[in-house]
Subunit: 260 residues, 2 copies
Amino acid sequence: MKIAFIGAGRLAANLAPALKNAGCDLIEVWSKTQASAEALAAYLDCKASWGRVGNATRKADLYVLSVKDSVLKEVIMELHFGREQALFAHTAGSLPLGLFSESGHERGAVFYPLQTFSKERIVDFSRVHFFIEAFKAADLELLIGLARCLSPLSNIHETSSAERRRLHLAAVFACNFANHCFALSDEVLHAADLPFDAMLPLIEETVQKLHELAPAQAQTGPAIRRDENVIGMHRAMLLDQPQLLAVYDVLTQSIQKMKH
Amino acid sequence: MKIAFIGAGRLAANLAPALKNAGCDLIEVWSKTQASAEALAAYLDCKASWGRVGNATRKADLYVLSVKDSVLKEVIMELHFGREQALFAHTAGSLPLGLFSESGHERGAVFYPLQTFSKERIVDFSRVHFFIEAFKAADLELLIGLARCLSPLSNIHETSSAERRRLHLAAVFACNFANHCFALSDEVLHAADLPFDAMLPLIEETVQKLHELAPAQAQTGPAIRRDENVIGMHRAMLLDQPQLLAVYDVLTQSIQKMKH
């Protein structure tokens, strides 16, 4: 099976090398810009194409579409011509499989690795969960086999678009919002020239606990203790940072309203 | 140096065994209730006392006070009589050293390990940062030496009450609020019978990134991308859960207002 990557962003920069290392046949990377297509293609030792997506190879059996959500539909429509028989799999958490039928492509699928990707770090895919969906049973099997090259079968799930959208929302809370709490913590410390590094063992223990306790059961701190003295003091410390105070208040209330 | 623990809660249940393992001489655990004092004392193979804090031993050189913030002042005042020469060290993030002078105890100090403690897990203190403060230089040295039994010198800091209060506020964001984001993620999944376990590799990668990137630099997700389509879809999914929607909105705005 010949694979082409459409898009050379953070997800592609992690997934494509992992697939190549697992022995897959990557034949081309397309990206809007020549520089980013060539950079990833050089790393993968395959061809590069750029400009209009119609410039991409027509010889692949599977096109992995990892482009911005906002352009995915038009990419599918343009890529469809001359590649009607190929399998297209998008990698987006929030976009439905139905996008392919709107674009008239019959062999549509979703191949969604639930992970946060950066170009600075290589993700270990053996721990990543994959959520897969396809119009045709044979395509579903094919993509399960592909995920199986990277991760154990217990991490591979057939999931509807509605479930995947919910997983993506859950990931926003667990990853994006938690990371923003780390950033706000950094901001609190920065104001007093204190180092964020001291928080790392605390953060790591907070995460380690999740292996043994549900997060609601693991909750600690002044909000859950309803320690009004400490909460009042914290609020006073944040009076000159209204955005941090707004976050402090809404999360404190949310902790107190949750059943623990 | 003979050490007594005043309080047998989660912090004491982690710190006292760690000190004993490091070769310290723990002579007694006091707790309000007989059962909790005896449980921890049995684990430490030392004496137990309970009831009024005046019942605690008078023979210790150092009393580690790990009681609720709200009762600390009265505990110090009652413990002071007959133990005027002993060193008292409290372990609270948000209470000032000045509490001891208000209570007339001259050898007051703070011994604050920045960590989240639960009775279900034993914390590895070799990675914990300690923040120490004392009225007398000799007591400061003594407590630095004590922390040194557990953690490398680079993790031990002399810190003012104002800095410690700020560290504690930062820890509320990094630990308590991040954990609540995990709990809200769990709630989003639970509504659709999806397992929280799939989030763990994502959460762990989010934390691993902090070793290489400042959290503001590591931010990903629809808020930072200003992906209004996805944000609008997420908000629609949360319309029947107003508390989650309030958190979603405040954190999304806060991410967008932060300089990244």
